[in-house]
Amino acid sequence: MRRLLLCLVVVFVLVLPLWGNNYIIRLTTMMMLYSVLSLSWNFIGGFAGYPSFATASFFGLGAYSGAISQVHGVPMFLAWPVGGLVAALFAAALGLAILHLRGHYFAIATLVVAEVLREIVNSWTDLTGGGMGLNLPILRLDVNAQARLFYFSMFVLAIMTVIAASYVSKRRLGFGLRCIKQNEDAANMIGINTTVYKTTAFVLSAVFVGCAGAFYASWVNYIEPGDVFEVLLSVKPIVMVLLGSSGTVIGPVLGAVVFLFLEEMVWRNFLTFHAGVLGLLIVALVLFLPGGLLGLYFRRVFHWKESR
């Protein structure tokens, strides 16, 4: 059943560019980008239970390191992994420094980091262009070919993230992270090196986001600090994961897809009030759907099993 679903998705993605217009392709690329963000947050937030608001930091860091490498002549396809690598190294250092904080304290610490990075990028004008932003080398390809190039590249990154997530979910690392989420003291006591586990989760939550950031920079050709370090980039993945179901592999992807549809609809219909509608959505989610959409599905299945 799960295999079938995966095959369907792959076929859909391969066939879509044949008939889809550029708007549909852009939307689907965005959908896959969102999936990468939500799956990444799920490593630290869903599995380990640490409410990280660091996604924007990793995204912005990836975007700027990718963009700066490209400006200095590094080929585009190499610049993306550079973005991932920089974000991952940063996450490792940051994780060792702040992962001993729990709950709100951790959330606030990660929230602040994005702001600090934004300020640094803003004032380091020589390297980053500061508030003026940074222009990337233009690809010499026609618009349709470009859209498809980014579409398929994003698909590869999304697939890599899904593979990493399902690998972690089934293995020792995922199991240990779930233990940490539920009771960190007990986890320590049964022999889990919690520092290493949490840092690994944090690095995993950064590496693909960093790649995605660098990808985004090449995709839109121009980045500025306010755009790639935006706090919404940290909030949205959390909403997507909660919307889907945290601590699973399908949940965050489902959440990303549904969220993008909601966002497009809200954007179109509530142009002046979209942030407010988004907020209401989050409140409704927490109140009425604590287990996410997948939780709803599981509830149905279990009821069905019990009633038989």
């Binding site: 020792r172 199991f175 779930r178 233990c179 009771n183 007990a186 006591m189 049964i190 022999g191 889990i192």
Partner: protein
């Protein structure tokens, strides 16, 4: 026989409060030793210091020939010290068997989750929880949670097991079952240190009793020796009672 655990002049203070004051004792392999003392005597602190939750401020702790007072909790538990918590600490959203498998996987070095679960079932059978293997840990009764805690510790394949009030809150029938379990542990080659309030428990299963009072070790001996020790009587029943007892004896 070489001691399995050695404490030498171990002290730990919290601010101005001396929770452990120069505590020294040995545990020999396959002993069941009771650690008793009034509330606030430092019993749980001692467990926390041995398991690496707190570092001792002074003194040395040697386990199985290896100093452990500078190690972190996770490496101490991998060496073979397991503990149960006074307030049970399950992984509430996991099933019972997953809880126990966690111990086998991370401390005992089971090679994957599947083999860890197989081991877990054995331990659940041993403590009599196998019929609840698939249910969620948060759904268990207190007595079952305490047994789960025990199974989890056993799955860690410990050489030394520290039981912090595993019997608190249980009814007499449950206590008797739990005592049988504890006695059978020695057959598995496990040394047991029981921290306990219930005198019935320590008197009936322990070959030796250590008494803490205000962080100091005031007595160490067989149950009957400790029961007669004037220091212990004083600590538990007050100095006037102790003086009267001495008067009666004379």
């Amino acid at each position: 026989m070489n001691p399995i655990l050695q404490l030498r002049e171990v002290s730990r203070h919290f601010g101005g409060l001396l929770a452990l004051d120069n505590v020294s004792f040995d545990l020999r392999p396959n002993e069941i030793v009771g650690l008793i003392g009034p509330n606030g005597a430092g019993k749980t602190t001692l467990v926390n210091v041995v398991t690496g939750v707190f570092r001792p401020n002074a003194g040395r702790i040697v386990f199985d020939g290896q100093p452990i007072d500078k190690l972190k909790s996770y490496s101490i538990s991998r060496l073979g010290i397991a503990r149960t918590f006074q307030v049970v600490q399950p992984f509430p959203e996991m099933t019972v068997v997953e809880n126990v498998a966690a111990g086998a996987l991370f401390a005992a070095g089971a090679k994957d989750l599947e083999s860890a679960k197989e081991l877990a079932i054995e331990h659940l059978e041993f403590v009599g929880l196998a019929h609840l293997a698939g249910s969620s840990a948060s759904a268990l009764t207190l007595a079952d949670r305490k047994r789960l805690e025990l199974a989890k510790s056993l799955a860690m394949d410990p050489k030394l097991l520290l039981l912090d009030e595993v019997n608190a809150g249980l009814n007499p029938v449950e206590i008797d079952r739990s005592l049988e379990l504890i006695r059978s542990l020695v057959g598995k080659g496990i040394t047991v240190l029981i921290i306990e309030h219930l005198m019935k428990v320590v008197m009936s299963v322990c070959s030796r009793i250590i008494v803490l009072h205000h962080g100091q070790m005031i007595s160490d001996g067989t149950p009957s020796e400790v029961g007669k020790d004037p220091h212990v009587i004083k600590a538990y029943l007050g100095s006037r009672y102790a003086a009267r007892e001495e008067g009666n004896m004379a």
